[in-house]
Structure formats: C-alpha cells, structure tokens
C-alpha cells in the first residue's frame, strides 16, 4: 500500500515537472529579457517612452504575404530618442517606406516568423536567405523598383548602369536592359594589324584601360588561332570596301608631309576629338583611346573611317565631320605620325596552324563572341550563360563554392564571382571585367534584386517605355550623320553627356545657337566633354536652327521682360549680396566654376527661360544641382532683368 502511495506521489511530482517544462521553456525565451531590458532602459531616459507590453509582436504585411516578428525585440524603431541606443533597441533610420506597412524581411531578408536572434537573422541551417549585410541592402529596393535610375538607391543604380554598359545581356538573360552598341567585326582584317590583334585578345585592358571588352584569359595558342581566324574577314558590312587614299594628296616630300601633319594637328584640335576619345587615358570617356591607335589600324582604314564612319561601322556614334578631302588625309596623317606605340614589339613569325579557321571558329563560338559582336552574319548564341532573371532566389545548395574560403551566402558569392569569375572553377568561361570592389558590390546588389517574390504589380515601379522619337527629313538625316544622340537627349532618347535639347529653343536664342555651332565654346570651364566643332555648312546650321525653333520649344515658357535700370540694379544686388550666385557662376570674369558662366548671358538665354528656371530649376532639369531658393516673383524678375542686361 505504502509503496503504491510513494509511487503515486513520485508519479504526480514527475508529471507536474514534465507539464511545467513547456510553459517554463516559453517563459525563458530571449525575447522576454529584451522586452524587460527595453522597459528598464526607457524608464531611465528623460523622455517619456511608452513601455512595451510583454509578449510576441508581429507585423503582417498583407499585400506581401509576410509575417515579421522582428518588432518583438526591436521595440524602439520609432523612438527618435533611441537613435544612438544599442541594438536591438535603436531607432530605425528615416527611410522612404513605412515598416509597419511593408514589414522588415522584405528589405532585410532573414526569417520573419522566428523569435530567436539566430533563427531570425537566418544564419541557421536550411535557411537560404539570411539577413543582408548593410552594403547589399539596396538589393531589396530593386525587387519593386525596376526602373534604371532609382535616386534613393545609388548603389543599385550604379550596378544597373554597369550591367547595361558591360552588355551582360550578351550572354545572360536579364530583364530591363537594352543591348549596347558593340563594333561589328566585319572588315577587321582590313582594319587592324595582326600583331595588335593578338595582344588585344590576350588582354584588352593593356591597350585601353577603360575598354568594355573583358579579359578571356586566352592562351598564346588560342589568341593566335582566333587572330588568324578574324583576319580572314576583310570585307565591311553591306559589302563596303576601302577607298584608296587620293594619291595626289599623299605625302611626297618631307616638307609636304610636315605641312600635312601640321594641318591635321590643327583640325584634330579644332574638332575636339579628345572630348570623346581619351589619349593615353586623358580626355573624354565616351569613345576608345587614341593614344596608340596608329599601331592598331591601317592609315587607309583611318582615312575611310573619318570620311564616313557609319559606312564602315554602322550604328557607331561618331559624327561625320565636314572635313575636306585634303583635311581628311591630313588628320589621318597626323594620327598616323603621332599616336604610335613604340614599345610594341613585333611578334615572332609563326606558321599558322593549317586548321586555324575551324579552330578559330570553335573558339569564337566557345567564348560566345557573337553575344556582343557581329561577324559574317553569324547568329547570336542565345543566353549562353546562366539565366539571371531570378538569380536573387538561387539556393545555396545550387552554388559550387569550390575551394574559395568565403562565407557561404549569395551576396558574397556574387561579389567574389564578379571580382574573379574563374575563382570557383578555372575552366569556367566567364571573362574578367576588372571591376573594383565598389563596382562588383554594386553589380551584385543589382542582381540580388532579381527575385520571384510575390509582390503585387501595383507596388512595383516599372521603367518608362523607351522613347519612340525619331526625327525625319533633313534634320533627321543630320542627327543620324552627326550622331547627336551619342551625347544629347531629345524627347527622352539619347545619352546625357551633353545637354537635353528637348526645350533648347525655349532656352537659347537662335542667333546664339548659330554662332555656337561655328565656335562651340564651353559654358562650364570644368567640363572635359565639350561640344566638337563639326565644321557644318551655313545651310546645315540653318536646317538645325529652323527645326529647333519649331519643335524644341514649349510655349508656356515664353515670357518677355522689361529691362528697367532700377530692376537691373536691384537684381544685381540680389545676385551678389543676397543669393551669392557668384559662388558657382562667373560674371564679369569672376566667380565660381560649378555652374555655367553667365557673362553675356543676355545674348544667350531667353528671358522666359531664366524666369522659369529661377522659380524652380528642377522643374526644367530634374538633375540640376542648382539650389531652389523659393524666390518671390519680384526677385525673380529683378534677377532676370539683371542677367538679360549682361550682353
């Protein structure tokens, strides 16, 4: 009997203990201590902060179908007084979205419903998306913001720009990027010398450090085979052939040659070739380096190319300069005599492999050269590399980290891959782009945003459809011939190396535009990319100005102004004494170098433009860094009167 009772007592106690484990385990969870700690921390502060109710808290982001319990411990997210407090209580920095609406993990990643530190940051087994490191945070912006330029996410924007410029879509499937123009290889055999080509194929960046062409790490043998193969393509697109350099203009005597070179040198400078072309690394960034170009291309090709760039290289953004026949020869002669690579040694003569064509073709296909380049009508091998449209969802078990000792996470894998594409496996084909750490990280950020998240379409921001503007007629022909879109934007099409011309005639006076074409001086002293002198004929300038006056104009910006002396002096006072405009703008040959010089601005700009500009500069140019001073109408008119008096 007694034994039975004892047993019963022991059983009861044991059962009680077992039953107590579950609530006790719950009671000793780490979040509870964080909440007690938060309450004692905030009670000591001078500010009044509402104490937290003890218990699990969560945000249910309904639209995104996510539940995040991070706010169980991160209790002070909204409390400004805790902005320098220690984690997990620190206030959230000011961002552009309400976390109460979107939750936490949509941006930070990690495991939302988890209630312990380790599980919520996701650094546990079988959780593929641990919390993003700080530098990769902007990847999350890219999930919804699909437009190329996301102003609040500079790293993401930079990454997207690099992806576009590097023409990643030549090999990879990616959404939202346009194909870049890449030189066609048709006619390369009549253009370059083999010696140069072999070196170029071995390492393009040794010739031009900023070239977009990556390094494929070809062996000597591969480079020779590929060069021999490419040199067989001697005819240009649409069966264009090189015209001979006119003999009567070719240099006969030394003195005639010197004169020719001198003329070429003058035209070279007047045409401002270095606005786009760097010379040994110095100058513009739009086009290729000319520093050693004479050791690359033949003089005959150069002459033909200068005469009509698009005939040999369709689609190239090089303007056709209106140079006379003798001037073309002269510029070619100048380039031929000046930009020689004296250090380039001749490669030892080699008997080509008898099967060089087949082997070269195989290499050309292996490295997917036609992903970027055109050659002999060869078809592009579609998406040779991995599909990157959902790379942000890649599971860790799908990635081969090889022998590289990095932490096994997707951001770090992408970073390492971009830094050294063949680090994980030497036999991989991806070439090296020589990205810096900052660039690799930016590209990784842009790629990580490519996910399959179930995000409602109405929350996403898509890029604007590309502009369909295509000028026709005389003006259209000139725009094509002069490659205006290479630097200028018109109605949303073109690059922004120069200015946006969409409202040019509302901005500038036609007489000024005409003189500008003849002597294009630089409005901003600090710019390196300056408008070239295209040597246009009077009639061509007239066509351009006429078109601008009819099309590049917005009627609502037209406004006249009476220039009264009292207004002018009032405006001068405001300009110098109140708003300190001379900090950035030059007037009377004095002042800053940031904005355009305003000397003689009265003969350049239209008054209506100045008025609207001063009222709100960003309404006319959203990218302008000019401060918006919220001037009164009277002030705007006075400053406009002052500026218009500067003639």
């Amino acid at each position: 009997m007694n034994t039975g009772r004892t047993y019963f007592a022991i059983w009861s106690v044991a059962l009680l203990v077992v039953l107590a484990i579950s609530p006790l385990k719950d009671f000793f969870r780490e979040w509870r201590w964080y909440q007690y700690e938060y309450n004692s921390l905030t009670s000591e502060l001078p500010q009044r902060i509402k104490p937290a109710d003890i218990g699990i808290k969560q945000i249910w982001a309904r639209q995104l179908d996510r539940v995040d319990r991070c706010v169980t411990c991160h209790l002070g997210l909204k409390e400004k007084a805790l902005s320098e407090s220690r984690q997990p209580f620190r206030a959230h920095p000011q961002i552009h979205h309400e976390y109460e609406e979107f939750g936490c993990t949509i941006c930070h990643e990690g495991q939302g419903p988890a209630t312990t530190f380790e599980e919520s940051v996701g650094r546990v087994e079988y959780w593929d998306k641990p919390i993003f490191p700080k530098d990769y945070m902007e990847a999350s912006c890219g999930r919804c913001h699909k437009e190329p330029n996301v102003p609040q996410a500079p790293i993401l924007t930079m990454g997207r720009k690099i992806i576009e410029e590097s023409n990643c879509i030549g090999c990879h499937k990616l959404e939202g990027f346009d194909r870049q123009w890449v030189p066609s290889l048709d006619g390369i055999g009549s253009k370059v010398n083999r010696n140069w080509l072999v070196r170029w194929l071995k390492n393009p960046k040794s010739y031009f450090a900023k070239t977009r062409m990556p390094n494929f790490f070809l062996s000597d043998e591969e480079a020779h085979l590929l060069a021999d193969f490419l040199m067989t393509f001697t005819s240009f697109p649409s069966n264009a052939h090189l015209e001979p350099i006119p003999e009567h203009l070719g240099a006969v005597s030394t003195s005639a040659r010197d004169k020719l070179v001198e003329l070429g040198s003058t035209r070279f400078r007047e045409a401002r070739c270095i606005s786009c072309h760097p010379i040994n690394g110095k100058g513009g960034y739009v086009a290729t380096d000319l520093g050693k170009v004479a050791s690359k291309v033949s003089p005959q090709w150069l002459y033909n190319y200068l005469k009509s760039p698009k005939r040999l290289q369709p689609g190239v953004e090089m303007p056709r300069y209106r140079l006379k026949e003798n001037e073309l020869v002269a510029v070619a002669a100048y380039i031929g005599s000046e930009f020689v690579d004296y250090e380039m040694e001749e490669l030892p003569a080699q008997t080509p492999d008898p099967a060089y064509y087949e082997k070269g073709l195989a290499l050309y296909k292996k490295y997917n050269c036609s992903g970027c380049h055109e050659l002999g009508g060869m078809k592009k091998a579609e998406e040779m590399g991995p599909d990157l449209t959902t790379v942000g969802d890649k599971k860790l078990y799908e990635i081969d980290f090889g022998n590289v000792s990095i932490e096994h996470t997707l951001p770090l894998y992408l970073f390492a891959k971009l830094k050294d594409p063949r680090a994980f496996l030497a036999s991989m084909k991806m070439p090296k782009y020589e990205f810096t750490d900052e660039e690799s990280r930016a590209v990784a950020v842009a790629l990580l945003g490519n996910t399959r998240d179930a995000i409602p379409v109405e929350l996403k921001v898509f890029p604007k459809p590309p502009s369909t503007y295509s000028p026709q007629g005389e003006f259209g022909k000139l725009v094509d011939d002069l490659a205006c879109f290479g630097c200028h934007t018109m109605f949303g099409r073109g690059r922004l190396v120069g200015t946006d011309l969409t409202r040019e005639s509302s901005q500038a006076q036609s007489e000024w535009i005409k003189t500008y074409f003849k002597i294009p001086y630089s409005l901003r002293p600090i710019l390196t990319e300056r408008m070239p002198n295209l040597f246009l004929a009077e009639s061509e300038i007239q066509v351009i100005v006429d078109y601008m006056e009819r099309v590049f104009i917005v009627d609502s910006l037209a406004q006249g102004i009476h220039i009264v002396q009292t207004k002018v002096s009032e405006g001068r006072n405001l300009f110098f004494e109140k708003y300190g405009c001379q900090a950035c703008h030059q007037v009377y040959l004095k002042g800053g170098y940031v904005g355009p010089a305003l000397d003689k601005v009265g003969s350049r700009l239209k008054p209506g433009w100045i008025i609207h500009w001063l009222k709100n500069p960003q309404a006319l140019n959203p990218e302008s860094i000019e401060p918006n001073n919220n001037m009164t109408i009277a002030e705007v008119e006075a400053i406009t009167a002052f500026l218009m008096s500067l003639k």
């Binding site: 990280r441 900090a583 000019e626």
Partner: protein
C-alpha cells in the same frame, strides 16, 4: 514509462541549451563582410551617413572637398573659404540643429557668408538629415585618428 519521462526531460534540457550555438562565428563574419565594404575608411557608418555621403558628393564636395577639408576645386574662388568639417574644435561646438539650419537656410539665413547657398528647397527632409549625419561623421573620423 519512467524511461519515457526521463527521455522527455533530457530532451527538453538539450533543446533549451541548444540556443545560441555558433552565434559569435556568424556575427563576426557579418561584421567582416560589412567592414571590408565600400566605406572601409569609416568605422561602421550608419545608414544615414552612407546615404548622406552620396548627397554630399553631389552637392557639397565641389566647395567643401571630398574629404570635407574645405578644399573643393571651387574653393579657391570663394572668400571667405568654405568650412573645414574636419576642424574638430569648431565641429564639437556646433550642434546638429545648427548644421541642419545652415544647410536649409544657407549662409544668409544664419548670418554667415551668402556664398553658401540654401538647400532647403532642393534637398528633401531625409536628404537634409542624411547629409547632416555625414558631415558630422567627417569631423568625428578625424578626431579618432
């Protein structure tokens, strides 16, 4: 039955002690990844400072210099010279509110040179906060050296 209970007890004890394993390793590696990053020169910059850097580079660096020493390329055109943000004595004396006020109202609003423009109309409130935080970090960075 007893064995079962004992097993339950042991299991729950193990489950309790399991939490917190490997935390230091994971946290350290995050830290390394972050510190080897873009802003390695700054001791762990905050979100505001990182955003502020981009604003600063776009708007301020032309005069105040990329390192905040008041030596931007436009500085030699200006008299008085732009403020040196690495001047610890000055930066310690000025409050965040005052910095922000100067950014918003410009030199003319705070009785300083008119050559400092007012950015209140150009920068959003968040951008103003960010750039203030970044300017502040420039001073602190030098202090720690």
């Amino acid at each position: 039955m007893r064995t079962l209970i004992v097993a339950c007890l042991i299991h729950s004890l193990i489950a309790c002690s399991d939490n917190g394993k490997d935390t230091t390793v994971a946290r350290d590696s995050v830290q390394v990844a972050v510190e080897s990053g873009l802003h390695a020169e700054l001791p762990s910059p905050t979100y505001e400072q990182r955003q502020g850097r981009h604003v600063y580079v776009k708007y301020c660096a032309v005069c105040h210099g990329t390192e905040g020493k008041g030596d931007g390329f436009n500085a030699f055109n200006l008299d008085p010279k732009p403020r040196d943000f690495t001047d610890v004595r000055y930066m310690d004396a000025v409050s965040d509110a005052r910095l922000m006020e100067t950014i918003i109202q410009g030199g003319r609003g705070v009785n300083k040179s008119v050559l400092m423009p007012s950015w209140g109309g150009r920068l959003t409130t968040s951008e103003q906060t960010y750039v203030t935080a970044y300017v502040r970090s420039l001073g602190k960075l030098m202090e720690s050296h």
